[in-house]
Symmetry: C2
Subunit: 212 residues, 2 copies
């Protein structure tokens, strides 16, 4: 039997979902909360297997509540269920630790199936939200790869060109009247900006990106 806590500020929605869950032999709605704060209290009181959590609620929103519940119990299984699937909601919910994200547009059967998945420890994200998640994922990866690739500065550019001519650090240092350590440092920073690990690859990428 899957014990469920439902948090939603709309009475009608709670009643509707309650009805749906009654149709399922293996599910029992053990408590209902009308806002995030209540959800946290009731979670501690009932230790339900799965929490169905709305986002837009007074007092404390569902994402904040989810975060706090998971701080209390890292194994909490929270399924966020909301009307709108904007990027912000999907991202924040899943990063808060929710095991699933569904739009209220789904059918009762899909909801039940998602609850079972989450209860088994699997993830449940509806098809539309996956697209949103993917977009967010790629954006994040992009940011991660170029945290500060404001392109190379003058010195780095200059030194990359000399590297491409197979000059050693010492040679470059003499040419630019700088300490060898300084050259090494510029190269180190340059490698990071180009996301590579040695001068050969840097030259390669430099040519690809038309920096040379």
């Amino acid at each position: 039997m899957i014990n469920i806590l439902l948090a939603d500020d709309q009475q009608l929605m709670r009643d509707g979902i309650s009805m749906l869950l009654e149709l399922e032999e293996d599910m029992a709605l053990v408590a209902e909360a009308a806002n995030g704060r209540e959800a946290i209290e009731l979670y501690q009181q009932y230790s339900p297997d799965v929490v169905l959590m709305d986002i837009e609620m007074p007092t404390m929103d569902g994402i904040e509540a989810a975060k706090r519940i998971i701080e209390l119990d890292a194994n909490a299984k929270i399924l966020v269920l909301t009307t709108f699937g904007q990027e912000d909601y999907v991202r924040r919910s899943l990063l808060a630790g929710a095991r699933g994200f569904l739009l209220k547009a789904i059918s009762g059967a899909d909801l039940s199936s998602a609850i079972r998945k989450v209860q088994r420890g699997e993830a449940a994200v509806d098809a539309q939200s996956i697209g949103v998640l993917l977009q967010s994922y790629r954006d994040m990866a992009g940011t991660l790869q170029n945290p500060n690739s404001t392109l190379l500065n003058r010195r780095e550019q200059e030194i990359l060109e000399l590297i491409a001519q197979h000059k050693s650090n010492r040679e470059i240092a003499v040419m630019l009247s700088l300490a060898e350590g300084t050259i090494k440092n510029y190269i180190s920073q340059l490698l990071e900006k180009l996301q590579v690990h040695d001068r050969k690859q840097a030259v390669q990428i430099g040519r690809d990106k038309g920096l040379l």
Copy 2:
């Protein structure tokens, strides 16, 4: 009619999928590739609506091929279809720009449905792989928040403590016999490591994390 290009090195798999697609009235398999390089050539030749791409192939793997096809045509709709759903494959495929990721364990009906989704511009990731994607997403978010929080170094630590005592940059500079600019620089780095934007917040976070 959805025109499909299939890339898989196993003849048997190609034949099987070919059979499955023949059952669908709205799909036509227009070309078959046995490796990534062929897939690229055939993509350019036939401009299919959707590409079904295996990962493990000789000559050039499917992920690399997907990446190159998308470089040629940003609207290419590629659905990666593979035997194993390890984190590495899911992450690399989706970051390469694939619109979907499915395990070969799925049913023919699910494959057709996924192909239609992808053709409509939606994303299609099977339930198991979503869990993997989510894990990777959270890891990445974690990395992003602490890119290099190897904790503060001695100087930064020292200066944070002085900031907490409401010393100005000039005062700190005199106390440590350093230039004021140097202090500003340390503080700037320190703010980045603590993910905040001014000294007040830095002290706040410093206390929270027990650095003070």
